[in-house]
Structures are given as structure tokens and as C-alpha cells.
């Protein structure tokens, strides 16, 4: 980092590229790990290197969490530089090599990370053509790049690798560097096959869980019996019979074992006799919503305020009110979190599948009390990651154990660690009120959200907390107040987020955090209004949307789902079906999604089955339509699981849903069909597709259940017992 700063100052002072070249070693693909490679976001070399052999190395701070991002970013760079796809290599999330482009969250990796890479590639492209023009003694505008080779009208050729001869580009990223016209795209917008899939289906791919270091030992952590329990004592003699134990590590309430073999570490962690203090500080689960409602409010965030909702509501001849709640969820990656930590020469290297290696680096440095520069975090692909799950915590565990034994340590969380100790999607409670005027128009809309305070900041590392060490943790539920404000032109609106002092479990963001819960309440409540005034849910939305792009999307959804031709629901049978519609403009500024859910309700058993979803999706420019389809299918299926089945269970001490039996997720026979209409806008900027569809699934299901049964479900998950109870009241 210091090197690049001084280099930058030299660049600025001299204005001569050659001066910079003399100060830094040449970077080649064969030696990409040189400490002198810049990582500051304003330099092209931070993002790109061109080797003598013409291979392009892309350095991306954004990482592929199983979304296909690797392929999409490769497409973007290969397109902009006009090089073949297989000539590009992507390095992800290495704090020594890649710029900090922010965590890979929020459906921003294409929108922000991809845009930065494209601009870097465009800046490089212009400079390469200009430098070639000097060599050819011609005008740069006459040159073009074909398959990684610069060509001029006289058919002279110069390969990019030869032009640069292994040197850095030494360029500042120019936000105004001209971009390639979408009309000329050969890779972007095409369903390019994912680069990682062949290796993943043949077991050649190295997941984080497969990663090994020489001399590596295996660690497991023994967690407290209650969230706040303290370690009273442990008896090392209880594991004396287990071979290969290297060390039992205790740091205050942090307790771990390190062993030569993985199985010995597992057995030791299970066998070690430990006494914890009694702790029962959690609320009764049956009283969760009373607990949330009575939690101290630190402040109110008013996320939208127009007109005078209070007066309009008071004056309204007809009023509606409803309360919605959304359960605590776990991330539930199929591969539990894993990390390897190694100290060498006083410096730490930590490999993990963290979505935010640059942030993890700061947290690990703080935990160890060392400078950030003493820590390098390297991303290695893990199992699907849908937010801030346990990867960072496993990293913290591995670091504490590696430091204690002086050898590299791999920590693989067990299933109960993952379900028990990953940060949770917090319980979310919403009150909604609306006023209708005499003509049936919506005159007022008010909402109150009860949600923990904080943003998507640092989430404390479990191991650090137990060890009494500071890992910069704050209450960080994510951007959970997004989409509390509504996209509809109602004259008097006030949406208020009550930011709570605490929440039962350490919170963090899980796919579409807040946006999902807020959209659930908003889009269900709008459906309730539609029913109350006898309006069609689609027509009501069109009436209040003053947004041409949103209206076009809803019309396409109507066509896709044959909404206007749908039969009137027959609620007479034991098994009834219904259709429900929902809409979101993500965070009111980006991706548009409209969705229709078709559900079946068994009124006797209370089982809700999602049969089919119709999705209209507009995220602007589409980089890879098949990758986007894959993401949308995933959004739908995962969210159906969350809405129909998922709820973290707990007693007064601890999470009790510690396996897939007690925290069931959707299985193959329950998976719905997904029909899509992707609206591609190649001349627009690309927005995210990793989250927005998830936001509208819960409300679409609830609205479809109403269509089928006439009963409102306002509490996620829609378990058979809740459905039966609601039907009983209907």
C-alpha cells in the first residue's frame, strides 16, 4: 500500500510514466504476487495486468459466492478489451492483490464491481491503442483490437502482450474513458457458460473446505452452552485417550482443540468435559413479538414522509391496519464455514470464503492488536453464501488457534456451529395503516418497522467475543430499512423505522435483508387494500405507479402470467389454488421485479405448496442471461423455503434448531416451477440480480393464499399450524 502511494506521488509529480516504471518491478502473470502491485481503486493496474503472453489477469475485490460472478466479470473485461474469454484469469478477494471494492453483497457485484472493471478495461483499451498508434506512427482512431491483437488498416499487428512487454499500464482510472458500444458486444449479453462448472462437476474444483497448507493442523471450537455462558472449567484428562491431540486452547470463554487429524479434533471437541455457567438471557420464543415491541428504541429513521399522513388518516372515512412479522432465519449454507490461518514471520495469512476479505482483514488485525498490513486475507470459494454468515467467525477461530499452536490451523465448523452461531436475520415486525377516501382512493399510508439499529458494518467475530478481544463488532443488521418506503404515488405517506437497541441473536444480513421483510408487509398490505375496495391487485398497482419502466414491467408480467385471463378462484374444495402478485423497485432506485405466485393450499392439513412463479425482471443491461436466470430461480426457490418452512428455534439459553431436521428447508418434491421474462436493456447500466426477486416472493405467496382461501397470512413462515389457525378464524 505504501509503495503504491509513493508511486502515485511520483506519477503526479513527474507526469512521466517511465519514472514510475523504474521504481517498481515489472509485473508479469508468472509473478502476480509481487507486493508492489497497486490496489488503490483509482489505478488501472489495481484491476488489470497484461502479461507478456497476452494473458489478462483481473483483480477483483468482489468475489463469486456461487452466483457466477467470476464468469460475468470475465465477460465484461474480455469484451471491453476485445480479448478471448479464455485469455482472462480472475483473482478474487486477496487483500494483497485486489482493490477493496466493498463486500460482495447487496446485489452490487455487477452493478458496482463490474462497472469499475469495465471502466478500468476501457481506460486500458484507450491507452493501449494510443501507445500502439505511436509505434505504428498512425492515429489511434484507426486501430482496433481483435482477439487480443491490435490491428491497423494496413493489417499491421501488435499483440497486447508484446506492446506492454510485461510492464504495468501505470494509468489512472478514467471515468470518462469511452466504453465499447453495446452494438459491438460479442460476449456481454450472451449466455456464456460458467467457467467453474466443469471443475465443480468433476471434483477438480478447490473449495475453501478442500484447501490445505503444509503442516496444517485441524481445529474445532467448543461453544458455550448458552449464548452468554462463561467457561467455569474443563478437564483435559477427558480426552487423553484420543490420539494426536496437539493442544487444548483456552482464552477466557473461547475454548478450542487442535489435533493432527480432523477426526481426532472432532472427537476431542465432542468428548472434552466442560462446565459452563448457566445462562438464560433469551426471551421466550412464544413471546418473541412482545419482546421485539418492548425493546428500547434508540432512534427513529423516517425513510419517507410526504403530505400529512396523520391528518389524512384521521380524516379518512375508511381505515385499514395490519401487523406483519417475519421470523429469525439462519443462512444455512450447505457447506459449513471453514478457514485456514497461518502465521509466518509475525504476519498472518488467512484463507476463507468471506464475502468481505478487506473488512475481515481489519477485524482480524484488531483482534490481534496488529496493523492491517500484518494481515493478508485471501478468498477461496466456499459453499453458497447469502450474506454475512459464519465464514468470518471461522476465520477468527482459526487465527486464535493457529496463534496458540504456532502452526497453520484449519477450522471447519460443524453443522451445529453453523446453525447455532452464524449471525441471524433478525426478527422483523411491521405495523401498517392506510386511509381510504370516500371515492376509494388511498389517501394515507403509514408504516412502522421494528428493527435493530445499525447498518452493514462490522459484525463481531464469535471467537473474539468469547476470548474477550475486540473485533470492531457493532450491531450490524445490514441495510434493513431499504424498501420500507413505497413506490406508489399515495399523497400522504410516512414510513418510520424504529431502530432497536438490541435483538435476541447477533444479527447480520441474509439475502435481501430488510427489503424482503419490508416488501412482504408493503405488498401484502396493498393487496389487502385492493381486496377492501374491490380492485384488481395489478390494476391498483398500475394506478398508483407513476413509473413507465415499472408499468411496462407489470404489463409484461400480466402477459406472461395471463393475469387478466385468470379464472376466479374456487374456494369450495379441500385443496384450493390461488394466484398472488407483488412488485418491487429495489431500494426504489434499481432493479424492477414483478412476480405472480401460484399456490395450492390443503385446507385440512394447512400445507401451502408453491406450484409456479412467473417473474418479470428488469435489471437494465444483462451481462449473462443464463447466469441471471440461474440467480432468479435460486432467489425464488430459496425464498419459498424461507417463507414456508424456516424459523430459528430457541430456548432461553441457545438456538435449539441445530440441524436440518429441526431447521428444515425446501426439498426437491416441493420446488416450484419458475417462468421468466427477462427485459434486457443493453444501453442501460447493469443493476443487480442476486437479491431483488427474493424481495417479492413472500408477499406473492401470501397474496396467493388469500386468493385461494380468503385468509391473510401475516406471519412468516407460513407453517401448517399457522395456516390452519388462520383458516379456523376465517
Amino acid at each position: 500500500m505504501n509503495v503504491s502511494v509513493s508511486r502515485r506521488s511520483v506519477l503526479k509529480a513527474s507526469g512521466l510514466l517511465v519514472v514510475a516504471f523504474s521504481l517498481v518491478p515489472r509485473l508479469t502473470i508468472a509473478n502476480p504476487g509481487g507486493a508492489t502491485k497497486p490496489v488503490t481503486p483509482d489505478l488501472v493496474d489495481s484491476y488489470l495486468a497484461i502479461g507478456r503472453d497476452g494473458r489478462i489477469t483481473v483483480y477483483s475485490g468482489k468475489v463469486d459466492l456461487g452466483t457466477g460472478l467470476r464468469t460475468a466479470l470475465t465477460q465484461i473485461v474480455a469484451e471491453e478489451l476485445d480479448v478471448p474469454l479464455d485469455q482472462v484469469t480472475l483473482i478474487q478477494g486477496d487483500t494483497l492483490l485486489t482493490p477493496d471494492q466493498g463486500p460482495s453483497f447487496g446485489s452490487l457485484s455487477i452493478q458496482n464491481g463490474g462497472a469499475q472493471l469495465r471502466q478500468a478495461a476501457a481506460t486500458a483499451r484507450r491507452a493501449l491503442l494510443e501507445r500502439a498508434a505511436v509505434k505504428f506512427n498512425t492515429d489511434a482512431s484507426t486501430l482496433s483490437i481483435r482477439d487480443g491483437v491490435i490491428v491497423d488498416p494496413n493489417r499491421r499487428e501488435l499483440a497486447l502482450g508484446d506492446l506492454l512487454d510485461g510492464r504495468m499500464l501505470s494509468l489512472e482510472l478514467d471515468q470518462n474513458a469511452p466504453l465499447k458500444s453495446p452494438a459491438d458486444f460479442k460476449l456481454v449479453g450472451k449466455p456464456v457458460r460458467r467457467l467453474d462448472i466443469p471443475d465443480k462437476v468433476t471434483a477438480r474444483f478447490t473449495f475453501m473446505q478442500d484447501f490445505k497448507r503444509p503442516g496444517m493442523l485441524h481445529g474445532r471450537v467448543i461453544r458455550p452452552s448458552g449464548l452468554g455462558a462463561t467457561l467455569l472449567s474443563y478437564d483435559e484428562s477427558s480426552i487423553r485417550g484420543i490420539p494426536g491431540i496437539v493442544k487444548v486452547v483456552r482464552i477466557e470463554n473461547f475454548l478450542g482443540v487442535v489435533a493432527k487429524s480432523e477426526w481426532s479434533a472432532i472427537k476431542a471437541a465432542r468428548t472434552l468435559s466442560v462446565k459452563w455457567s448457566a445462562w438464560s438471557g433469551l426471551p421466550e420464543q412464544s413471546q418473541l413479538w412482545e419482546h421485539v415491541r418492548s425493546t428500547k428504541i434508540l432512534k427513529d429513521d423516517v425513510t419517507s414522509n410526504r403530505g400529512d399522513s396523520q391528518a389524512a388518516l384521521a380524516a379518512a372515512p375508511r381505515k385499514l391496519a395490519a401487523t406483519y412479522d417475519f421470523a429469525i432465519h439462519t443462512h444455512g449454507s450447505i457447506g459449513p464455514s471453514c478457514a485456514v490461518a497461518e502465521f509466518e514471520g509475525g504476519k498472518l495469512t488467512c484463507w476463507s470464503a468471506s464475502q468481505a476479505t478487506h473488512n475481515l482483514r481489519k477485524q482480524l488485525a484488531a483482534m490481534l492488536g496488529v496493523a492491517d498490513e500484518s494481515v493478508r486475507c485471501i478468498y477461496v470459494d466456499g459453499a453458497g453464501c447469502y450474506g454475512r454468515n459464519g465464514h468470518e467467525d471461522a476465520a477468527g477461530d482459526a487465527v486464535l488457534l493457529a496463534r496458540a499452536v504456532g502452526q497453520p490451523v484449519r477450522v471447519q465448523w460443524m453443522r451445529a456451529d453453523e446453525h447455532g452461531w452464524d449471525p441471524k436475520g433478525p426478527p422483523t415486525l411491521l405495523d401498517l395503516r392506510a386511509g381510504l377516501d370516500a371515492g376509494g382512493k388511498i389517501s394515507a399510508w403509514e408504516s412502522e418497522l421494528f428493527i435493530p439499529n445499525g447498518i452493514a458494518g462490522f459484525v463481531a467475530l464469535v471467537g473474539a467475543d468469547h476470548a474477550g478481544l475486540n473485533s470492531l463488532g457493532q450491531l450490524s443488521p445490514g441495510g434493513v430499512i431499504n424498501d420500507l418506503a413505497i413506490p406508489y404515488a399515495i399523497p400522504n405517506v410516512k414510513t418510520t423505522a424504529h431502530r432497536l437497541e438490541s435483538t435476541p441473536f447477533k444479527p447480520a444480513w441474509i439475502r435481501s435483508p430488510g427489503r424482503m421483510q419490508n416488501s412482504f408487509a408493503n405488498e401484502c398490505f396493498l393487496d389487502e387494500i385492493a381486496a377492501a375496495i374491490g380492485a384488481d391487485p395489478l390494476e391498483l398497482r398500475l394506478q398508483y405507479l407513476h413509473d413507465a419502466r415499472g408499468e411496462e414491467l407489470l404489463e409484461r408480467l400480466a402477459t406472461l402470467s395471463s393475469w387478466r385471463q385468470r379464472p376466479k378462484p374456487d374456494r369450495s374444495g379441500e385443496i384450493v389454488t390461488g394466484l398472488g402478485l407483488a412488485y418491487v423497485k429495489y431500494e426504489l432506485v434499481r432493479t424492477y421485479v414483478g412476480i405472480v405466485a401460484e399456490v395450492q393450499v390443503d385446507t385440512k392439513s394447512g400445507v401451502v405448496s408453491a406450484k409456479r412463479f412467473y417473474v418479470a425482471h428488469d435489471c437494465g443491461q444483462i451481462i449473462n442471461p443464463d447466469g441471471l436466470r440461474n440467480q432468479i430461480e435460486g432467489n425464488v426457490v430459496q425464498t419459498v423455503s424461507r417463507v414456508l418452512k424456516e424459523e430459528v428455534k430457541f430456548d432461553r439459553s441457545m438456538v435449539t434448531s441445530l440441524d436440518w431436521g429441526s431447521y428444515p428447508i425446501l426439498t426437491f418434491p416441493e420446488v416450484p416451477e419458475v417462468v421468466m421474462d427477462l427485459i434486457d436493456r443493453p444501453n442501460e447500466v447493469p443493476w443487480g440480480g442476486g437479491e431483488p426477486t427474493a424481495a417479492v416472493v413472500p408477499s406473492a405467496i401470501a397474496n396467493a393464499v388469500f386468493d385461494a382461501t380468503g385468509v391473510r397470512l401475516r406471519s412468516v413462515p407460513f407453517t401448517p399450524s399457522k395456516v390452519k389457525s388462520a383458516l379456523g378464524r376465517a
Binding site: 457458460r193 449454507s333 450447505i334 426437491f668 418434491p669
Partner: protein, 152 residues
Amino acid sequence: MARTPLNVNGNAVSVFVDDADTPLLYVLRDNLGLHGPRFGCGLGQCGACTVHIDGVAVRSCVMPLSAVQGKVVTLEGLGTKAGLHPLQRAFIEEQAVQCGYCINGMIMQSAALLTRTPKPTEDQIRQELVANLCRCGTHLRIVRAVKRAAGT
């Protein structure tokens, strides 16, 4: 440390473990360096660790080494030297992967199904995979891939 002979992916191997109760999963991954079978739950609930023993799909995370009798095949050994297994090809064709962590189990479980039932219906495929969990929501593509491999 006891020597245990195994037949893995057509090769006779010996593994040395100090506990005969060590689940097969750790022997395959840590002793033999195989990456196909994966740790997901250690409870036989998710299917990420699935391997074949004499052609039958089993959960290697709950199969003690001492209980292993028969020929073990992992994802590494599913195809032949000549090429990929039809399921592997079909998973690529259908792009039936998101993170890919569960895919070992999906392919191994489906391969066992296709051996028993070469032309399964969609319902049979879904039932076969009922205890194979995917968190990313790749199910629809996985079903399409199995159908493609079966030619149905």
C-alpha cells in the same frame, strides 16, 4: 494405527487410521485427498458427502470405516478415462450449478438412480433427491440435468 484396505475408484489402497470408527468421509478427503465427497452436516441429512459403495449411494459422513465393505466410488471415479459420465455432461449442458457444494451428492445420488431406473419420471427424480439439500435453489436445473442424462 491400523491398516485398512479399501477399493476406491477401482484402485486397491491402504489407509492408516487410529480409529476404525473414523467416518469414510474423512478417510476419503483427508487420507486419500479426494474432493468429491464433501462435509455438509455429519449427520446423514444433506447428501453432500454421498459416495457409491457397490453402486449404492451412501452417506459417507455417517459410514464408519470399519463398516465399509465393497467398492467405493467417488465423483472423481464416476466417469471413465474416455470421458465424463453422462450426468456430468448433462450438469454442464444445463448449467446445473450455483455454488456447486451440493453437486457431488446430486450427481452421485442421481447416478445410483439411473443405474436402477434408467428412464425415471420427474417425480421419481425428485423423490430420489428428497434427502439431498441444495441451499442456492438450483433444484430445477438439477432435475433438468438428470432428465437430460436419462434422455427423458
